[in-house]
């Protein structure tokens, strides 16, 4: 029995292997592809280092104008903020309502190819328009106001939610669907009992997440006069005397948005991860109120 000659050249070959050429070339190509447009971009930007040097002072001045906040008109600002939240809510509902069937139609494991193609194109076409641009296009027909804001944000949400929904649906376990089909279930039943229970937690979480994003978007839409807190802040920023009021409006906006984010994140975590168990609040209360026997889950024998 002979030892198989595994590396015939290994003994005599002391040369280093020749380094392949193409990574080097690729590097140069990359540098050209990225560097040239970068330089081209820099040339047209009207850079001024002097202005950049003065920037911290200017920002400080801006902040000084906003602070200390003037809380006298806070009730009106709060109502405007609520309006922004309502706009975001309705837009999210519109987005959720229409994106759900579209998500099914765009998922490759649910719909035939002739359907997924156009639906996907439609969704990415919608996503190509930022909310602000969409709102401007809608103004000539629907005028300025919350209605336009709702439509613009709602349509944009359909695009993003539709894509996310279809991705979730494509990721479900095919087992239950096959099982339902094997027992004679229809296509609709397979969707209802095989796909929806699996996909719904994630889809719900995306809906909530979209609501968080939409609040920000509706605040921004106020800038072009589509109602809400954005118009309030921009209007206040026009006159230097009103700046402290704008500061107050900004502060409550940030605080409320952060609170809603926290609540929504909590709900999303609860939806995805399940019941968290006994929390600190209930423990503290339990010491005051009395017994805190955790819920007994009765497992029934078959």
């Amino acid at each position: 029995m002979t030892v198989p000659d595994l590396a015939p050249d290994a003994v005599g070959d002391t040369e280093r292997p020749v380094e392949p050429e193409w990574p080097k070339r690729l590097r140069w190509i990359l540098i050209l592809v990225i560097g040239l447009p970068y330089i081209w971009g820099l040339l047209g930007l009207e850079l001024s280092w002097g202005a950049l040097g003065r920037a911290p002072g200017q920002i400080w001045g801006l902040m000084g104008g906003l602070l200390p906040p003037d809380w006298s008109d806070i009730a009106e600002s709060f109502n405007k903020l609520l309006e922004s939240i309502y706009v975001a809510w309705i837009a999210s509902i519109i987005g959720a309502f229409f994106s759900f069937p579209l998500g099914f139609m765009a998922a490759t494991n649910m719909a035939p190819n002739w359907m997924t193609g156009p639906v996907r194109a439609l969704l990415s076409g919608i996503r190509a328009f930022p909310e602000l641009v969409l709102a401007i296009v809608l103004i000539p027909a629907f005028g300025l106001g919350p209605f336009t804001g709702v439509l613009a944000i709602g349509i944009h949400s359909i695009g993003t939610l539709g894509k996310l929904t279809s991705e979730v649906i494509e990721g479900v376990d095919p087992g239950p669907i096959e099982a339902i089909k094997a027992t004679g279930g229809t296509r609709f039943q397979a969707m209802r009992f095989g796909v929806v229970p699996q996909a719904m937690p994630n889809i719900l979480a995306y809906w909530l997440y979209r609501f968080e994003i939409n609040i920000r978007a509706s605040a921004v839409l106020g800038m072009i006069g589509a109602g809400g807190i954005g118009a309030e802040i921009v209007g206040r920023l026009r006159f230097r005397d009103d700046w402290p009021k704008a500061g107050a409006a900004l502060i409550i906006t940030i605080v409320v948005v952060l609170i809603i984010d926290a609540i929504s994140a909590g709900i999303r975590r609860r939806i995805i991860a399940g019941h968290p168990g006994t929390g600190p609040v209930s423990r503290t209360l339990g010491t005051i109120v009395g017994d805190i026997t955790p819920p007994v889950i009765e497992i029934q024998e078959a």
Partner: protein, 459 residues
């Protein structure tokens, strides 16, 4: 196994006749609430009505939470007392107002509902073994929050703002006022009871559905939006086509001058902002992301510093960066736009890349360390190659986002095509607006498809 074999299960206790139990409760409710009716608003009959409502409430909770006969009367009286006192607390600030219901007033008025909700929570907790004690506070807060929102939304219906206290005292607006209070009460009861019921049932679906429905109703009411309006206004889409079509791609810079293609310059400016912002941001984010990952940064101080810097940058939205920089280095030039886009890119790339670094395979890092490599050599030769494909994919995605985001920057005076869009809109030149929108659309779609194609080949 049959029930008879089970030694624990003995005979069922005989249940008292149901009708007797209910009659006792009803009589008790009416009797109990009469004095509180007097305390609240001047009429014993009204008190009786409150009693019956409270009883119905208890019944509703009872169906869900199986009350024992012993606790029935105590719970009922607690509910009636809380209801009457809460209503009184709710009415006092509302009646004392001068003109508008401000949020402070709403807060004070909702204290009454908080009290009532706390008692409802207590009843649920008492009757349902195993309910979390925090349910008491949560149910109380639910009632109060619902009343607060209903008051706030109700103010915007319009008629309440003009009503002064004197007018109410004269009795002119009695009916409107009462309808309003019934409305607020129904919303607060709806949300609060849904929360209570879902706690009693141990199921969150009831509450989420009710809260969503009520919130939607409030939102529709507040911003005058309705499905019917949406349908009736859908005919206006033809108006859209009429005004926006055909797009007008060339127009003169000022009246009297020959036509020029003015779209080109701002468009190029936007692209420049996006290119510079994305490239600089993506490069700046690399050291930040590597410092903000436990894998490559053992030093706790550096790690927390990098992490909190990243979080700070991410919290501030891109438009706000734009406003800040525009105020700092001058409105109208593209420079502040590029600075804002740098921040925007750093924020996203920092988060995506640091999370990717967190998830890399630690094997090569250990191998590098065991061959005596220094920290930098380890990061460079063992960590960096692992994330390069992801990095390139993220960079392309960020460039895509940058193109879209830099369109908007013009609205706040940070340069680019957004400025032109805003300007044409203010002149009501909708066909020119359409031209700009079409250019944006085609660019975004083109860049997106190229980026997706490259990303698919890399990863």
């Amino acid at each position: 196994m049959t029930i008879a074999d089970d030694p624990i299960v003995t005979e069922r206790p005989t249940e008292p006749p149901r009708s007797v139990k209910y009659i006792v409760l009803i009589v008790g409710a009416v009797l109990l609430s009469i004095p509180f009716g007097i305390l609240d608003i001047n009429s014993a009959a009204r008190g009786a009505v409150y009693g019956i409502i409270a009883y119905g409430l208890l019944l509703l909770l009872g169906v869900a939470s199986r009350p024992t006969e012993r606790s029935g009367l105590i719970d009922l009286s607690a509910l009636v007392v809380a209801g009457a006192v809460g209503l009184k607390l709710y009415i006092i600030p509302i009646a004392a107002r001068t003109t508008v219901i401000t949020w402070r007033l709403s807060l004070r008025a909702s204290v009454g509902w908080l009290l009532f909700g706390l008692v409802v929570g207590w009843v649920v907790y008492r009757n349902r073994k195993g309910t979390n004690p925090s349910a008491i506070i949560l149910i109380g807060l639910a009632f109060a929050g619902a009343a607060f929102l209903a008051l706030q939304a109700g103010t915007d219906v319009g008629y309440l703002e003009s009503i002064s206290n004197r007018a109410i005292k004269r009795g002119e607006f009695q009916n409107i006022e009462q309808v309003f209070h019934v409305w607020v009460g129904l919303i607060a009861l709806g949300i609060g009871l849904a929360v209570a019921t879902s706690f009693a049932l141990g199921n969150a679906v009831v509450i989420s559905l009710t809260v969503s429905a009520v919130f939607t109703m409030l939102a529709f009411n507040k911003i005058d939006f309705s499905v019917f309006e949406m349908i009736s206004r859908s005919t206006q889409v033809s108006l859209l086509v009429e005004k926006l079509w055909p797009p007008d791609f060339t127009w003169s810079k000022s009246i009297g001058q020959p036509e020029t293609f003015v779209l080109w310059e701002p468009f190029v400016e936007t692209l420049r902002i996006a290119v510079v912002g994305a490239t600089t941001g993506v490069i700046l984010a690399v050291p930040l992301a590597f410092s903000a990952s436990r894998m490559t940064t053992p030093n706790a101080t550096v790690y927390w510093f990098a992490k909190s810097t990243m979080n700070l940058i991410r919290t501030i939205p891109d438009l706000f960066w734009g406003i800040l920089f525009a105020a700092a280095v001058g409105f109208g030039s593209p420079f502040p736009g590029a600075l804002a886009m740098i921040m925007f890119s750093v924020a996203i790339m920092g988060k995506l890349l640091s999370e990717t670094i967190d998830a890399i395979d630690p094997g090569p890092l250990e191998a590098a360390r065991s061959t005596g490599a220094s920290h930098w050599q380890m990061v460079k030769s063992a960590a960096f190659p692992q994330v390069v494909p992801h990095y390139v994919a993220y960079a392309l995605y960020i460039f895509e986002l940058n193109v879209r985001a830099s369109v908007i920057l013009g609205f706040i005076g940070a340069g680019g095509i957004g400025r032109l869009l805003d300007e044409r809109r203010n002149f009501f030149q909708w066909d020119q607006v359409m031209a700009i929108v079409l250019v944006i659309f085609v660019t975004v779609i083109l860049i997106e498809s190229v980026s997706i194609w490259v990303r698919r080949r890399i990863v």
